[in-house]
């Protein structure tokens, strides 16, 4: 890698704005996530956390500001100071490099755990079935589910489903992983197994943005903590610092509820 690529942040948001019709959801978001960093994103319901993640993955198009992933503008091509919308094929190509894990898992119910993991490598990346299967099995092993390869999602617990979902995202070898409240739909005793997998990912240097209410996880794993409210970043900093010593009133009010 050259110096130029190592210094480009993985995610760079500059005054990002997003609205649905007249409803402004993201007012003005500027933040930077460097390579290998873990950022936790917290905030009250409706503050725009999911919308921001979806913009990074181009599931939504931003309305104003600039959003770059790995130095590339998301959803647009810039030429002679003019922006051109990407063709669907180019947008799909961009999304390959960004893995996403959803609150409701969103596994493909008609496919087994292994088939879920190898679907995109085979049909998007064009890998051979044998190669994809070998890698898929290794990934399931990595999330502790080697013995569940042939199970359908309906026969897995929530925690197991979420771990399959993580393996499925990893199968595309993403540069960046986005987690949208990955443990919010889980029974309390299953939260730990998913957080363990995420902790493992962080420890091997994966760049991650995690929307979560698990403050313990944020404090232990995250490099930075961002508190969002009403479409703006209210407070940002070292997780322990923000949690123990929040500066802003709204941060204090929010933290007193979730801690």
């Amino acid at each position: 890698m050259t110096d130029a690529t190592t210094t480009v942040p993985m995610v760079q948001a500059e005054r990002v704005m997003k609205s649905f019709g007249s409803h402004v959801v993201l007012r003005d978001i500027s933040l930077t996530v460097n390579r290998g960093e873990v950022m936790c994103l917290v905030g009250p319901s409706g503050s725009g956390k999911s919308t921001f993640l979806r913009c990074i993955n181009h599931l939504e198009q931003v309305n104003a500001g600039r959003l770059l992933v790995d130095g590339r503008l998301v959803g647009y091509r810039e030429k002679h100071d003019k922006l051109y919308e990407l063709k669907p094929r180019e947008a799909a190509e961009q999304r390959r490099d960004v893995g996403m894990v959803f609150q409701r898992f969103n596994l493909f119910p008609h496919l087994t755990a292994l088939e879920n993991v190898i679907e995109a490598p085979i049909h998007v990346n064009g890998h051979s079935k044998a190669h994809a299967t070998e890698r898929g099995k290794a990934l399931l092993d990595r999330v502790g589910l080697a013995n569940k390869a042939d199970s359908y999602p309906a026969h897995l617990s929530g925690g197991q489903q979420q771990r399959v979902a993580i393996a499925r995202a990893l199968a595309m070898e993403p540069k960046l992983m986005l987690f949208d409240e990955p443990t919010s739909a889980l029974d309390p005793e299953l939260v730990g197994e998913v957080l363990d997998v995420m902790r493992g990912l962080a420890s091997v240097g994966m760049t991650m943005i995690v929307v979560t209410h698990e403050m313990g996880f944020a404090r232990e794993v995250a490099d930075s903590l961002v508190f969002m409210d009403n479409g703006v970043v209210v407070e940002e900093g070292d997780p322990a610092e923000v949690i123990n010593n929040p500066q802003h009133k709204r941060t204090q009010a929010f933290l007193s509820k979730v801690l």
Binding site: N57, L59, P88, R89, A92, E93, R95, R96, V98, G99, M100, F102, R104, N106, L107, F108, P109, H110, L111, T112, E119, A120, H123, V124, D141, R142, V143, G144, L145, N147, D150, S151, Y152, P153, A154, H155, L156, S157, G159, Q160, R163, A165, R168, A169, L170, M172, E173, P174, E189, G192, E193, D196, V197, G200, L201, S203, V204, G205, M206
Partner: protein, 319 residues
């Protein structure tokens, strides 16, 4: 949770000897037995009576049920059903996908198609198809006013049989489009998002993720449509096609002046095909219920998931 006085938790002794199973007197259902008996008695009486009744003319029935003319006509009916349903399914999927696509041109075309073909009687449509050669003696292919690639003489190019298939299929496609559309809409939006997030294109998502799941919803009403199509083929006399099962058996009975046994013959064949279709439907439903809890795959024990997190290997995510 026990209601200990004082609210202290208690630890139960850890011995669980198996109790003998409960031996209770089974609940009786006298009414079920009585009604079943009455129904069976009535059916037996009906059959015994029917076997002697002259109007049914069972000897004529026996003579015609495997008659060459009848079995050939049955084959024509089956072909009409299969070909027109194939056309309807392909076109129906296309129309449904167009209707749900973000492209406003596709949406409108699909809407107008369904509006017209569902809004007029199939019998009238079949008469129109029969008159195709009268309305358009020849069909030109090319760009109007620029080039004319070739002319198709209508009568020579389309036999009445294929006009009937087109007529039935285009009409049915409007209904199939609505069935497919409701199937596609039944698939959770999160599926679409998950596929997109993996970099799958829209068409790949449709083919590999959405349609296979929609099939579970689409198949039962489609089975209905096939069976209903089998019977709708009796309307092809409007085109006119006279070689199908119903028209043929009616023609024979108008020669013999003995319609009742031939109606029974036709019904037997219709029922035979319907039964086959029901078996096919059963297996298709089972196939597309993959992963759905009601048809749990054998050997895949859905027992309590165990806590089986192992520590992650030290391998990098880019290995």
């Amino acid at each position: 949770m026990s209601n200990d006085p004082g609210g202290r938790a208690s630890v139960r002794p850890d011995s669980h000897e198996a109790l003998p199973p409960i031996e209770a007197v089974k609940l009786r259902h006298p009414w079920r037995w009585l009604i079943s008996f009455l129904l069976i008695a009535w059916v037996v009486l009906f059959i015994v009576d029917a076997s002697h009744r002259e109007a049914y003319d069972w000897s004529a029935y026996g003579k015609y049920v495997f008659d060459q003319r009848i079995s050939k006509a049955a084959l024509v009916t089956l072909q009409l059903t299969v070909y027109s349903m194939l056309l309807a399914v392909v076109l129906g999927v296309l129309l449904a996908v167009m209707r749900l696509s973000p492209n406003p041109v596709f949406k409108t075309v699909s809407w107008v198609y369904i509006w017209i073909f569902r809004g007029t009687p199939v019998y009238v449509q079949l008469v129109f198809w029969g008159l195709l050669a009268t309305i358009y003696p020849s069909i030109s292919v090319g760009i109007p006013g620029v080039t004319n690639l070739f002319d198709l003489p209508t009568t020579a190019s389309f036999s009445l049989f294929w006009l009937a298939v087109i007529g039935l299929g285009l009409n049915e496609a409007a209904y199939m489009a609505e069935i497919v559309r409701s199937g596609l809409l039944s698939v959770d939006r999160g599926q679409d998002e998950a596929a997109k997030a993996l970099g799958m294109s829209w068409s790949l998502t449709m083919r590999r993720i959405v349609l296979p799941q929609a099939m579970r919803i689409i198949i039962p009403p489609t089975g209905n449509e096939v069976i209903s199509m089998l019977k709708t083929t009796s309307l092809v006399t409007a085109v006119p096609v006279a070689t199908d099962l119903y028209t043929r058996s009616r023609d024979i009975s108008s020669e013999t002046f003995n319609p009742i046994p031939l109606l029974l013959v036709a019904s037997t064949w219709y029922l035979f095909f319907t039964s086959i279709l029901m078996v096919v439907q059963y297996f298709l439903e089972k196939r597309f219920a993959r992963g759905h809890t009601q048809f749990a795959a054998a050997g895949d024990e859905g027992g309590l998931p165990e806590a089986d997190v192992e520590t992650l290997s030290e391998a990098s995510p880019h290995d």
